[in-house]
Symmetry: C2
Subunit: 703 residues, 2 copies
């Protein structure tokens, strides 16, 4: 629903009922009225048909993309990821629409000068006795006035930028949070937070400063066609600091690259999207007192910083709260008996996060991110197996469609956007700036982090992270959000070029870079930590980040038992004064499962020592199969030992997430569980040919 | 995207650049401009926040509904189905919004009289030097003018009626077609078509006539407040002829009611929605020549009939064409290796049907219905097992959410719609009319059909069909589509009451009615036809409807081999002149599968004689498990014998659709595969306690 302008601070009710049109006979007026009605009905219908036709164009784009992706996957072509492909198709269609199709500018525009003090939200126009309602769409800048007369076709395929933030980005960001590989995420939490917050701030400042210098140079050489303030430069810095290495991560996943690198890159990209969006809002909200809105004002800056912190924490709180509520609801009801209801509830609660955050003035996208992480960490364990699959698949599909749609639109926008401002100096400066900004982000921070990390971030990993700073959907959406002024248009055009270049060139060069940097691939996450000797494990535990330990203990002893069915039960961990409450909040299973719910990303866990398939007996002994509610039988109970185990074993369980294990009944049906999760989190750590690794011996009953 | 008014028949470009506002100093003007900009930005943001808050209300409604549904299912309460429940919650919230919350009417409206000949699609308003763009929303009737000043809250929660046709109804109707129980549908095709087309026409005429009498009475007694023509009465007849027995079907499914009754009722409801929507469009399109638009004009009537036939067949063709294209694409590519891609493609193609139909001026909803049926009949067989589940679950969820949303909105509309016209005479007349209309539809047609049917439609079945004529989403959507005139408003208000009454009263009384009419329940579809003696089977075949036989042969010999991997291969069925084409179009599997692909609704078929679980060997023999591409080993090849088998065995296979068989590893996890498909087609024919029925003996390896 397009915004319609509701309550404003001023309440005006001006009824200017002037005289009707002269010069039309009564019968003629009636006939004209009827014809008028038909005309406007037909106009509305024409418009509806046009809108449908426009959407068909996009569906065609997406269909082409899907078929070509399949072709590439079929031939194992890794030089072009689906997002880069979608962009190419978008560019092609953009060219066709721009130069191939000419829709006669059949314009029905009227410019009125009305005696109003303000632009009302709703306008009632009296045309020969009939009233027509008009809604405020927005302000039009003078140069756009000409566009309005221009190629109607291009205008038609241009979406309201808010579509990205309200419809397309939420599923993408939610899925990123929901499919987060939590173990590695939390283990590297400190580093990821550092890169996301400090790194983005550094990058923003660095890029802003360089661009300011560039803009000053342009001013001196007379290339600058309009105003370009430092706040604009900072905004540009915030916009292009949002990395989106979806291409790189997909390749990492396929090749099973070093888990640590994957976790760092993924975690950083997911969080710095959130940081970038709130940062850009804060910069835009910079309103110094006085007439000149672009001077430096400490109070205004502090206010902006306050806005940043307020919005970020508010969005975080809202997202986490909804996740917690969903976890409690799924824990204390037996909704799991009905996967359809459970999935529906899950979807609605997650969607409501976005709407609630937006309604409260926070950032919906950031809220859904943290909602996704919370849902993955708590609610997921309460869902029935069926619902786990359904929710994962649902959001995987939404993510896939939304992402490719945005990238197609990016390609299209290169030709359909009518106010591009390409300036060679600015573009070159921008590329230089993002390169230096990324370097200033990665290298100094890595050095600092390595002082505190046991598992150092190697230089080749740092180089890879430097290389993998692709820009994508978030940068594009932030840039297109407001293209009213000259500065913003130049920023948008440049951002578009940056996205194209990084996705096509860096994305395509990932595989080469991996071998060049000697990053290990084919890492079997199962074996990742098994080789670590015992004494090292203990010292690993002893030296692991205090942040992680603190979080882990709190989560293990209080949050997990509260929100899921895992043990230890709250009755044991809470002080005795909270006895009644604890009893109330503890589910029956928690008493049975004195151990912590196996904190992992797996749906089914099969481990070397755990399977005992008994064929004589008709039931398969699935001692180690954890469905929600069950747990592993660990020796000992203390969270310390659990933490130890956590750190030692790592991800050696096999992660089978999001897809059913396909019964290999038909040999012509290859397993489809590896290559599907294109982006976030491996669906399975096994390569197809390692299918047999799952079980000891040759037993082939797959569960 | 709200329609923005594209190209109209007249091209006007009127630039009336009049003088700017006087009386504001330059600096003041600048400050005012800035403030103005902030004001309108804030207004837009406020509006956005309000829109988000409104959607939260609906999400809250749906969440409450889901939780209460679970509660009801938990306690096996069958007197109130989820749709009736959603309506109740909608009514409650409507009361709260109407009488509990008073949003000060902070109205920003301006009525202008402008010297324009027509209402342009886009309006540019010059306000002190800034240009604002306004888009035509639609015409406002005089009484609505007052509403514009009224409670803003109510206006905010009112959706544009096109939302129903463009966003909410398509998933519901598509799912209805996609989950159609095809076997029974095609077996009763003649009867279903008769009820849907003839029956709806009869009902429409009957209701229209009765209402015309009623309206004449009202006119005489002076109750009529506006014009009410015969075309309006006919339109009302078309609107309320659209039955929507979703409640009844859900109860039928749970109780496993007589399969024939289920098929007739479901098929009729699905098709008569399509007929009603096109019929109402045709009636609205009735435009006789001359001044008076409501006289009887044969040419206009013929034109309307032509429009009906044209739109219906055009939509049918479009839907079927997209289904065929999808079938071919999934057949000739190996997309099945990647369920995500396959599901994405399936979704996009189905969605494109709707858009294409709308773009071409047909009815998108009707197109998606036939697309759904085609997809279920052909494409489904080509999908991988994973994709079959994913697509079913995806559309099941969309259907569930959309349906409950509409019913919630119905309850809400009772209080939020501001132009209700309740008239006791009209309402009573309407109830009488729909009763008689339904009777005139069911009983005569059943009598006629029984002359030709071997398997007569019993009188108790006819009574049940009479009883089960509930109205729902389609009637509501058609009624709310246009509420500009007095007549339409009265029709809308009455339709709302009809929906409430039929859903709550008839829906609630279904179970009682079933026992009252002695309709058999607990019908195990497996056993349905096994008891039919051999000689009866043959005569059944001999006497089965020629329509069905014709269709079956054509489908078996040509369409299925063309669009799926089933045999007999086209090389054998097509004449030799088409040899090269036939070879090109026949897939390798078709040569192996000399038999017809088992035409059923099942994902996995487990039948008494087919399972041979070998436990010594580690692989489970799943001879009878059909994945796409496999087939049953039938004796003989002729389509006649296949037809015979088709008719004889019926649905004796166990239908397990849409859900995975859940491994009962954990006793606390009850099977979730029966009660989920609330509406269309049983997910499984077994009741939960009959879980063991699936397998011979006590073997408990579930596949």
């Amino acid at each position: 629903m397009a915004p319609r302008g509701g309550a404003g601070p001023r309440a005006l009710l001006l009824l200017l009922l002037a005289t009707a049109l002269a010069g039309e006979a009564a019968a003629g007026a009636a006939a004209a009225a009827l014809e008028e009605e038909i005309v406007s009905e037909r106009a509305a219908e024409q418009s509806h048909r046009q809108d449908s036709a426009n959407l068909v164009i996009f569906i065609l784009l997406l269909t082409l993309t899907i078929l070509t992706i399949w072709l590439f996957k079929h031939r194992r072509a890794r030089f072009l990821h689906e997002t880069g492909l979608a962009m190419i198709y978008g560019v092609l269609v953009g060219v066709i629409l721009r130069y191939g199709i000419h829709v006669p500018s059949d314009v029905n525009n009227v410019t009125l000068s009305c005696q109003v003090q303000t632009s009302p939200a709703t306008l009632l126009v009296n045309v020969s006795g009939k009233y027509y309602e008009y809604t405020l769409k927005g302000e039009i800048s003078p140069q756009e006035l000409n566009n309005v007369q221009d190629n109607e076709m291009l205008r038609k395929v241009t979406f309201d930028p808010e579509v990205f933030f309200n419809i397309l980005l939420p599923p993408i960001i939610f899925y990123a949070g929901y499919s987060l590989k939590r173990r590695h995420f939390f283990r590297n939490l400190g580093s990821i937070l550092a890169y996301a917050f400090l790194g983005t701030a550094i990058s923003c400042l660095m890029i802003g400063s360089i661009m300011y210098g560039c803009v000053a140079l342009m001013k001196v050489t007379g290339q600058l066609g309009g105003d370009f303030y430092f706040t604009d430069c900072l905004l540009f810095g915030a916009i292009v600091s949002a990395t989106d290495p979806v291409t790189v991560l997909a390749i990492f996943h396929e090749l099973q690259v070093d888990v640590e690198l994957y976790a760092l890159l993924f975690g950083e990209s997911v969080l710095n999207d959130a940081v970038a969006i709130v940062l850009s809002s804060s910069i835009v909200a910079y309103q110094p007192a006085g007439d000149n809105s672009h001077t430096f004002d400490v109070m205004a800056m502090l206010k902006s910083i306050g806005i940043f912190l307020g919005i970020f924490s508010g969005s975080f709180a809202m997202g986490a709260a909804t996740g917690v509520v969903t976890a409690l609801v799924t824990k204390f009801t037996k909704l799991r008996e009905f996967p359809l209801l459970e999935t529906g509830l899950f979807f609605l609660m997650s969607w409501s996060t976005f709407l609630l955050a937006e309604a409260c003035g926070f950032t919906g996208v950031v809220a859904v991110l943290f909602c996704g992480i919370t849902q993955a960490h708590y609610t997921y364990n309460n869902l029935s197996t069926e619902s786990q699959h359904r929710t994962k698949q649902l959001f995987e599909l939404l993510n896939f469609l939304a992402e490719n749609f945005i990238f197609s639109y990016m390609g299209l926008a290169l030709f359909t956007f009518q106010n591009h401002v390409f300036n060679a100096t600015f573009v070159v400066g921008a590329f230089l700036a993002i390169f230096l900004g990324r370097a200033a982000n990665i290298y100094p921070l890595s050095m600092l982090l390595n002082l505190g990390r046991r598992n150092k971030i190697g230089t080749n990993i740092q180089h890879m992270m430097m290389f993998a700073g692709l820009r994508g959907a978030m940068a594009f959406a932030l840039a297109i959000r407001d293209t009213a002024t000259y500065a913003r248009q130049m920023m948008f055009s440049t951002t578009l070029l940056i996205v194209f270049f990084t996705v096509w060139v860096f994305g395509g060069g990932t595989t080469a870079m991996l071998s060049c940097l000697n990053i290990r691939v084919g890492v079997d996450a199962d074996q990742e930590n098994l080789g670590v000797p015992e004494n090292e494990r203990r010292s690993t535990k002893a030296e692991s980040a205090w942040l992680f330990r603190m979080w882990y203990n709190f989560d293990h002893n209080y949050l997990k038992p509260l929100l899921t069915h895992s043990g230890p039960p709250l009755t044991t961990t809470l002080p005795s004064c909270c006895g009644p409450i604890a009893r109330c909040l503890t589910s029956p299973q928690a008493y049975e499962n004195q151990e912590q719910l196996k904190d992992d990303d797996s749906d089914l866990i099969l481990n070397d020592g755990d399977i005992s398939l008994t064929y004589g007996d008709s039931t398969v002994n699935t001692d180690s199969v954890t469905s929600s509610g069950a747990s592993r039988r660990f020796a000992g109970n203390s969270s310390e030992e659990a933490l130890d185990r956590e750190l030692a074993f790592g991800d050696h369980e096999l992660v089978i997430r999001g897809t059913r294990l396909v019964l290999p009944m038909d040999d012509s049906e290859p397993p489809s569980n590896v290559l599907d999760s294109a982006r976030h989190g491996p669906a399975s750590c096994t390569k197809p040919e390692q299918k047999d690794h799952l079980f000891p011996g040759d037993s082939a009953i797959f569960i």
